[in-house]
């Protein structure tokens, strides 16, 4: 209180305790952290009820064993991998193509400024996007293999269905970010709505569109390498059969090929994006 009595306006002494936050905020913060720790411990226990710790203890030996079998990789096996690799690239490319073709109209239906109806159409389009995004392409492939049988087609459709959500989301955000004035100016000339779309909006989103499509293609190459694990064709089929026969040196070769493919596709998509934008 003495500080308040001081006429000169300066307190006669300063508090020697300095804290970063108010006591209440600190309490809440500590409470939050404590709750997180408790939740973690509980989750850990629930999760490991069924864990056989003998296997876990055994893991380093297993790792050593697998590691020694993987080395040296069976490089001659590469010759057999070329056709599956070609299939994998086709799955990614055709899948991306299909996904982009389906995603573009959905993006226009989902964007607030181009949707025909905010109340009816937009929620449906948004649900398609969310559903496609939430389900991993491997799960799509699992479903499609069960429905249309194993093979490349299931892989392509799986990749396409997964791409709709990704491309659709980024594209509709790009549509919503377009410059309103350019669209207004085209509308003011008496253009039809299809013409407004084509002259006012499409030129503005085209660079984003190419960027998104290439980005997704790059991701799809990665994802299509493993679709074979559930029977959807490509190099993943080889991976599955090598694992089933415990041919670890072949597995190592396949992993090297996959890694190389991913690196090359990343470089290609980066180069093309630079050229296009």
């Amino acid at each position: 209180m003495s500080a308040l009595d001081n006429r000169s306006g300066e307190p006669s002494h300063y508090s020697r305790v300095w804290t970063f936050r108010t006591p209440r905020a600190r309490l809440a913060l500590w409470g939050g952290w404590l709750a997180l720790v408790a939740l973690f411990v509980w989750c850990w226990q629930v999760m490991n009820e069924g864990t056989l710790w003998i296997f876990v203890a055994d893991a380093p030996d297993q790792a050593m064993d697998i590691g020694s079998r993987m080395f040296p990789p069976e490089l001659a096996y590469i010759a057999e991998l070329l056709m599956p690799l070609w299939d994998t690239i086709n799955i990614a490319t055709l899948g991306t193509l299909g996904g982009v073709i389906m995603a573009a109209p959905i993006a226009f239906l989902a964007a607030r400024n181009t949707t025909p109806s905010v109340l009816l159409v937009r929620p449906v389009a948004l649900f398609i996007i969310v559903a496609s995004r939430s389900i991993n392409s491997l799960i799509w492939a699992l479903l499609l293999v069960a429905i249309i049988g194993p093979g490349l087609l299931a892989g392509i459709v799986a990749i396409a269905l997964r791409s709709i959500g990704f491309v659709g989301k980024l594209l509709y955000e790009a549509i919503e970010e377009t410059d309103h004035h350019q669209i207004e100016a085209v509308a003011a000339t008496g253009a039809r709505s299809a013409q407004i779309l084509h002259y006012g909006i499409v030129p503005q989103i085209l660079p984003a569109f190419w960027g998104i499509a290439l980005f997704r293609w790059d991701i799809n190459i990665r994802e299509s390498t493993i679709l074979g694990l559930v029977g959807a064709g490509g190099i993943g089929m080889k991976l599955q059969s090598s694992i089933d026969t415990l041919a670890w040196s072949q597995v190592a070769t396949i992993l090297i090929v996959i890694l190389a493919t991913v690196v090359v596709s990343e470089a290609i998509s980066a180069r093309m994006r630079q050229a296009l934008i």
Partner: protein
Amino acid sequence: MLTLDKLTKTYTQQDTALSDVTFQVPRGQVVGLIGPSGAGKSTLIRCINRLVEPSSGRILLGETDLVNLSSGDLRQARRRIGMIFQEYALVERLTVMENVLSGRLGYVPFWRSFTRRFPGRDIENAYRLLDRVGLLEHADKRADALSGGQRQRVGIARALAQEPELLLVDEPTASLDPKTSRQIMRLITEICAERQLPAIVNIHDVPLAQQFVDRLIGLRAGRMVVDDSPMSLDEAMLTEIYGAEDWNTSEQDDDPDPDDRSQGPMRVAGTAT
């Protein structure tokens, strides 16, 4: 001939942007619309081609009442009204030629605009307009490669490509330097005189307006407070429009806030005359 009759725009119950605006613009007349920011200048212009929906009143372009048109008829009517925008509003990633040809969108079917196969007459006319605004050699450049003044010329050519019966001009010089501003204003008034086009030019720069327009209309809080020839505009009228201010003091003498200069109505008085 354009007639506005008791044009009113209310956004919400309290917020009235325009109230009972009534005036006529005969052929060939260039009307300058002045007033402080927020007075409703931009709303007025956008109500005429219904980029903003008017609340009540009539807008007659020739014989048609623009206020009650269906969307199909509105499109037909918009073709007759050319508009020039403040920030040019060109489609930045299209070429200059495509921007000019976009003025013909209302006249050509979708497949023609989609394949960019416009009728020969439209193309010839577009070249003529580009020559008129002095950009013939820039036809194949992309719009975002041009300077501000050049872009506004493309905007003018686009509006003229519509072969309009009325020109709406929204702050054509707001983003331009004083010299370019004068060039653009001169071009607009010359073209209106050549084609006997009526035009409404929304402009905040009073000396520039005085120099180029045939008639000045002053808006304050959505109401018309002045309608006179630019020569007779005096201090009393400026006070009527903008509120009290010492209008005679030149800016070089004592302008305490340099950022505020662009808002001052007498801005170019010292440099331009």
